[in-house]
Amino acid sequence: MPGLDEVSDSKSDGLRTAARHPVPRGEPILEMRALQKKYGAVEALKPATITFLSGEIHAIVGENGAGKSTLIKLLTGVIRRTSGEVFWCGKPVQLDNPQEAIARGINAVHQEVVLCPHLSVAANMFLGDEINNAGLMRKRAMTEAAQSVLDDLGFNLPAAATLGSLTIGQQQLVATARAAMRGTQFLIFDEPTAYLTRQESAQLFRLIRRLQGEGVTIVYISHRMEEVFELADRVSVLRDGTHVGTRKIGETNDAELITLMINRTIEQIYHKEHFPAGETIVETRGLSGPGFQDVSLTVRAGEIVGLYGLIGAGRSEFALGLYGRHASTAGEVYWQGRKVNINSERKAMDLGIALAPESRRDQGLCLNLPIGLNINLPIFKRLTRGLTINRQKEIENADRQIRDLKIKTPSRRVLASAMSGGNQQKIVIGKWLSHGAKLFIFDEPTVGVDVGTKAEIYRLFARLLENGAGIILISSYLPEVYELSDRLHVFRRGRLVASHDYRAASHEEVLTQAIGV
C-alpha cells in the first residue's frame, strides 16, 4: 500500500500484521477459562472454556440468543465479565475496556455496525486513531489512506462519502476495513455476511483468507452453515449460553452441528408449499421513484414474489415506494384491480400492505422501548376501546407473538435493545404478523436468524399464503429467494431486469443477471 506508507506511523501500517506474531501458528493465542457473563438474572454465557489457536479460522455457531455476541463483546472489552479468566499469549488479561483489547490487537466487526453515520467513510476508519499533524487532523491524507486500503481490499467504496449514505452491507464492509487496518492479531466477525450480497461476501472471504495467511487469528460467527464449512478450521457450538462442543471442520457435518445447536434435527430448512395462485392483489405498471425505475410486477394471492439483486439494486427502495414512504414519480399501482395512489404509510396499511423493513435498528424497532410495545405499535388503534388501550388484549397479543415466534425473552417488558440480533428480527416480523395484511413485504426477514427459526419463519410464510395473502420477499441471500419464490425478479441498478418462474433458472444465471456482466 504505497498510499499509506507516506502518512503512516506504526499504528496505521495497514494490513501488514504478520511481522508481529506473538505466538507461533497453531499454538494457543487466546484462552477463555470458565468465562461467564450475567445480565442481572440472565446468564447470557455460562462458564465457557474455549481455546483459540494462532492463525486458525474458528467459527462459532448457535441459535439466536445462544450467547455468541456476548462472548465477542467480552473478548473485545465492550462488556465486563462476571467471572472467569482470559489468557492472551499465555498471560492472564483483564480486557475490561475496548482500548485494552485494541492495544493487544483484538478487534471485532460487530453484528450491528457501531460507527458514526454523519462522518465520512475515511473519518470512520480512522476514528480514535486519526492521522494528525501537530494536533491538526490531516483530512486529505486520511481520505487518501483510507481509499488505498479500501481499494487494496477490493471493496469498491468511496472513502470521501458520508457513511450514512451507504447501504448497511457497505457500512459493514467499512467496519471490516477499519478493523483490518489496525494492526490486528485477532479479528472477530459477528455475522459479517448478514447484509452482504454474494459478491461482497466473496470479497470478504478473500480478505479473511488473506489475513489468515498473514498469521491473523479469525473468529467467525455465522448462521450460514455453508460459510462455516467453506471457511473454518474449527467450529465451536453454543446452546443457551453453554459451550456444547468444539469440532475440527473435517470431522463434523451440517447435521451434527445443527443437532448440537438446537438439540433436535430439522429435515428441511426451505419449507415450500405451493398454493394455487388466486386473484391479483397488487400490480405495478412502470412504477418509478427515488432509486428505482419502471418496475412492473404483479403479486397474486397465495404466491411469494422474490426480489433478488445486489445491495443497492433498488429493491428496498421499490418496497418503500410501494408502501408510500416515498412518493413515486411515474407509473401506476393497481390494488385488487383498482387504481390507487398510495401516498402515506397509513394509506398502505389501510389498504392491507405490511412492510417489515430492511434495517431493524434504523427502521424496524424502537430499541429503547419494551418488546411488547414494539409488537403492538401498528395495532394500537385496534387495541383501543374508547379512550384507553385495552390492556388485556395488548398483553395477550404481545405474549402470543413472543410465544409463536419463540422470541427468547423472560418478559414482554424487556427492552428490545436487550435482545440478541436474531430475536430483534423476530420482533420486527411479529409486529406485522399481529397487524395482518393482504400483502406482506418482507425485506431481508431472516437476517441474523438461526436455522431453526428460519425454518419456522418459512413455515409461517406458508400459513400466510394459505390464508390468501401474497408475499414480496426481498433477500440478498440467493438460496432463500431461489427456493421460496413462485416468481423471482432480478433487480439491477434500480430496474427489474429479469423474471423467472419457480426454479426455472439456475443460480448462476440469476447471479449473472444481478451483476450484469
Binding site: 450475567k38 445480565y39 442481572g40 438474572a41 440472565v42 462488556i79 465486563r80 408502501y323 414512504r325 404509510e345 397509513r346 396499511m349 412492510l355 423493513p357 434504523d362 427502521q363 424496524g364 424497532l365 424502537c366 430499541l367 429503547n368 422501548l369 419494551p370 418488546i371 411488547g372 410495545l373 409488537i375 403492538n376 405499535l377 401498528p378 394500537f380 388503534k381 387495541l383 383501543t384 379512550l387 384507553t388 388501550i389 390492556r391 395488548e394 398483553i395 404481545a398 423472560p410 418478559s411 414482554r412 417488558r413 424487556v414 427492552l415 435493545s417 436487550a418 409486529k431
Partner: protein, 325 residues
C-alpha cells in the same frame, strides 16, 4: 430483570418493576425532606407554610408535565416560562378590555394551543431543531408581551379571578387541585391511551414509528400543543395569584420545569418518562426552596443545592438504568 422498564402491560406505564422503586425513592426523598424540615424548623409544618409550598410547587408541576410530553418525543420546549409571562399579559389585557372571564380564559388557552402549533410547524415543516424554535419564541414572546404592555404591567381588577388562587377547597389550596385536574388526564393520556405510546415510539425511533403507521407529525403537534397549553394554563394561575399581567414574570421557569422532569426520571434522549415523576420532581424542588427560605439559607445557596441535587438524582437514575452492564 435489569432491563425492565416502566410498565405493566406492554407500554411504558409506571406500575411494576424498577420504575415503581424509582417513584418510591423520589416519594421517600420528598417525605424525608419534609420530616427533616419539620425537625429543623418550627414553621415548616404550619398550615400556612404547607399551603404556600403546595402553591409554589403546583405551577412548576403543571409546566413539568407538559414539558415531559415534549421531552419524551426527544424534543425540548424552552419557551414555557415565556409563555407563562405572555399569557398572563393576554388574560390581564382581555379582562381590562372588558371581555367576560370565561371567554378570556378560553382565549388565553387558545393562545397556548396556537403557540404550540407554531412550534410543531417549525419543527415538522421548516425542519428547525426544537431547541432553536422554542428558544426563538422564548425571546419573541417576552418582547411581544412587553410591547402590549408598553413595558409596564396590567393590573387585574376581576375579583373572582384573583380570589381563585387564594381560595382553598377541602382545606387544600385550589392551585394544588389544579395539579390534580391536569395530572389525571395527563396520566390517562400518557400511560393508558395509544397517543401516549406514540409519543414514546416517536421519541425512540421516529422512522420505525412512521413505518409502523404512526402519524409522526401529528404526534409532534400534539406534544408541543400540550406543553404550551399547560404553560398558558399556568399563565392564568400566575395572573390570578399575583393579580397582574407582566411579560417578564416566570423568568427561568422553563429550567425549573425541565429540572423537575429530569429529576422525575425523564430522559433527555427521549422515550423515557412518566407523569408522576415530574410531579414529584417539582415538589422536591419547591420543598428545597421553601426549606431554604425557612432556614434562612442564602438564596445563592439554593441554586447551588438545586444543581447538585439534579446531578445526584440523575446519576443514580442512570446507574439504575444501566443495571448490570
Amino acid at each position: 430483570m435489569s432491563a425492565e422498564t416502566v410498565d405493566s402491560g406492554t407500554g411504558p406505564a409506571p406500575r411494576k418493576g424498577v420504575s415503581i422503586l424509582f417513584g418510591l425513592t423520589l416519594l421517600g426523598l420528598l417525605l424525608f425532606l419534609w420530616l427533616l424540615l419539620g425537625l429543623a424548623t418550627n414553621s415548616f409544618w404550619t398550615p400556612n407554610n404547607i399551603s404556600n409550598l403546595l402553591r409554589q410547587g403546583a405551577m412548576t408541576a403543571i409546566l413539568a408535565v407538559g414539558q415531559t410530553f415534549v421531552i419524551i418525543t426527544a424534543g425540548i420546549d424552552l419557551s414555557v416560562g415565556a409563555v407563562v409571562g405572555f399569557t398572563s399579559v393576554i388574560v390581564a389585557w382581555l379582562l381590562a378590555a372588558g371581555v367576560p372571564l370565561w371567554i378570556a380564559i378560553i382565549l388565553t388557552l387558545a393562545f397556548g394551543v396556537l403557540i404550540g402549533a407554531f412550534h410543531a410547524f417549525g419543527i415538522v415543516r421548516m425542519g428547525l431543531p426544537p431547541f432553536i424554535i422554542t428558544l426563538a419564541t422564548l425571546t419573541s414572546l417576552r418582547g411581544i408581551g412587553l410591547l402590549i404592555t408598553n413595558g409596564s404591567t396590567i393590573s387585574i381588577t376581576n375579583e373572582a379571578f384573583t380570589n381563585f388562587s387564594r381560595a382553598d377547597f377541602l382545606g387544600v389550596p385550589s392551585l394544588f387541585w389544579m395539579v390534580i385536574v391536569v395530572a389525571i388526564p395527563a396520566y390517562v393520556f400518557l400511560h393508558l391511551s395509544r397517543f401516549g405510546r406514540y409519543l414514546f415510539a416517536v421519541g425512540s425511533n421516529s422512522e420505525a414509528a412512521r413505518l409502523s403507521g404512526v402519524n409522526v407529525h401529528r404526534t409532534i403537534y400534539l406534544a408541543y400543543i400540550l406543553s404550551s397549553t399547560c404553560a398558558a394554563f399556568v399563565g392564568l394561575l400566575l395572573a390570578s395569584r399575583i393579580g397582574i399581567g407582566n411579560a417578564t414574570q416566570a423568568e427561568g421557569w422553563e429550567l425549573q420545569a425541565i429540572a423537575s422532569s429530569v429529576i422525575g426520571g425523564t430522559s433527555l434522549f427521549g422515550a423515557v418518562g412518566s407523569v408522576h415523576g415530574p410531579l414529584l420532581g417539582a415538589f422536591i424542588l419547591a420543598t428545597i426552596n421553601n426549606g431554604a427560605n425557612l432556614l434562612n439559607v442564602n438564596s445563592f445557596w439554593q441554586r447551588i443545592i438545586t444543581g447538585v441535587l439534579i446531578i445526584v438524582i440523575v446519576y443514580f437514575d442512570q446507574l439504575r438504568r444501566r443495571g448490570a452492564r
